[in-house]
Amino acid sequence: MQVCTKVHAANLVRWAADKPRVLVLSADLTSSCEADAFRDAYPDRFVSMGIAEQNMVSFAAGLAREGWMPLVHTFAVFICRRAYDQVAMSVAYANAPVKLIGFLPGITTPGGASHQAIDDVALMRQLPNMTVLEPGDATEVESVLDVMAAVPGPVYVRMLRGEVPRLFPADQPLCLDQPRVLSEGDDLSVFSTGICTEEALKAVAFLQARGLGVTHLHLSTLKPCTHPSVRAALERPRLGCISMENHLRTGGLGTVLAEAMADAGLGKRLVRLGLDDTFAHGGSRGYLMREHGLDAAALLRAASTLVGRPLHASPGELAAARTVALHSAARVEAL
């Protein structure tokens, strides 16, 4: 598996080259949000706003209303917590095409509770007019900007920085409201987002080796979530469904799926993996993923619950995820 570095930094410069209406707004976290290369390449399109996120968000709404495409770069917590009223009233209400790029989702930072956005999907998904995207690998970090730009209203992107694996072929971009079907089977359905997909791939390979049929969907659009493959995957498994997200287990992917199940009248078990009504703390990603049950081992525990027998893997048995061969778009539709 290829691991890429500072994918957004380079991609943003490349992507914005022929888009003169794109502006980048930053609140003193320009390098931390990989916007420094953009700033250096297009200084006249970089707008420094200082540590003042509330003003930055409303200011961006003013720019967007006048035909510019402001890309607000800061940590997700500051968009979703510090400036929530501004996001709701200045941006979402007006359906202003402000693109909010939130970094450090969930436990991807050792910065502790103040820096860890564990509630951002819940907060953003609640807002009328808002679209919520979460890339899960380098290919999606590269392609999310096109999807984001094509949406005529506000978009929240739960962005990844630093070292990002490439799980999906570079020529298979993220598409709006199009889950990726990573495997198919009749016993269990696994739904994963963001950094959890890499972990889920390891666990699913192990389960398949144990003879279980597993349908695995990777979702990079959390709102809207209307693709028929989601309902099909919820309906299909004999034993139940598992969701896995780098977020509270309420308000995010697990809730999206539970709502879809209820709407469709599906009586299935759904084990929702995520932070369980708790804040996290400072620590390494691997440590926090183990502690909060966001790793492959946690998915195996959830599967054990549904299957009714122990499914324990030794660390060596959980093979490192590799680039997965995807089913074609036609197969996605057919599921």
């Binding site: 200082g50 509330q54 003003n55 003013g62 720019l63 209303r65 006048e66 359906n95 209203g153």
Partner: protein, 316 residues
Amino acid sequence: MGPPRPERAVTDLSWVADVEFAAAHIRRRVLAHTLAHGGGYMSQACSAAELLATLYLHVLQLPPVGLPILPQPFAGVPGRGNRAYRTGAYFNGTPGPQHDRFFLSPAHYALVVYATLVECGRMDPAGLEQFNLDGSSVEMIGAEHSPGMEVMAGSLGQAVSVAAGVAMARRRRGDRGRAVVMLSDGEFQIGQTWEALQAMAFHRLDNMLVYADCNGQQCDGAIDRVMRIEPLRARLEAFGCRVAQVDAHDAKALAAPATWRPDGRPLVVLAQSDPCRGLEPLRANAPKLHYLRLQSDAERARYRAALEAMRHGEGP
């Protein structure tokens, strides 16, 4: 900046008399409305009548309004599916690059703006009768779709930031028109207001003009008793603003700073106002002036008498 409107005969200061005439009628309309409905944002009309009349009749460079000028029913909130949606800036005309844009930040001044629109011929007087009715766009707390409004400002402190974004966008586009914001002085208690001023100064948005109605009042009572904002002028200057301090009831004084040649600094006009101006009975309600609720027959009689006096041009 700020010459008389083109359709007006250019005769020295005739516009001042027009502003004074309009301001008296704004107070009268808001008082009549308050009496008819048992309550209203009365002190805001008393403090800001000349300010809004000066803006609309003299300072703001606005194109004519289209037809109809009767507010249309609420057409839904903005969203991808709503093609019927339009903002209340319709009543300010369709702006070209040379035109100003007006942003009302304290959205509870809406009734005063509606009365101003009527006085300057931009809204049908029948529109006032739709105030606060179900299904009407003429809302009590002005929304984006309410006459004269362009942005959602009910959560105080946001409109100046949005207007600053508009000002930067317009400057990048080469527009000559300004972003003109009306603030209330209570909004200087809000952190975002200072974030916005700091950014306006840093980015040298001298195509912005901020008028603050400094009536010294807020919801809980006198500002000095709720949370002090003084020394306001010094604070604004320390933030890099250019400040004018004027009598809010003097049209010429209000209009003068709008003609100053831009010098890189955002311009803030502190309009020192009397929250009971032109309505003496209101003084008995101090320090609770934010919203006038008519409670007794005696009170209603006093205000009715004041309205009658206004109608007969005797002054209250």
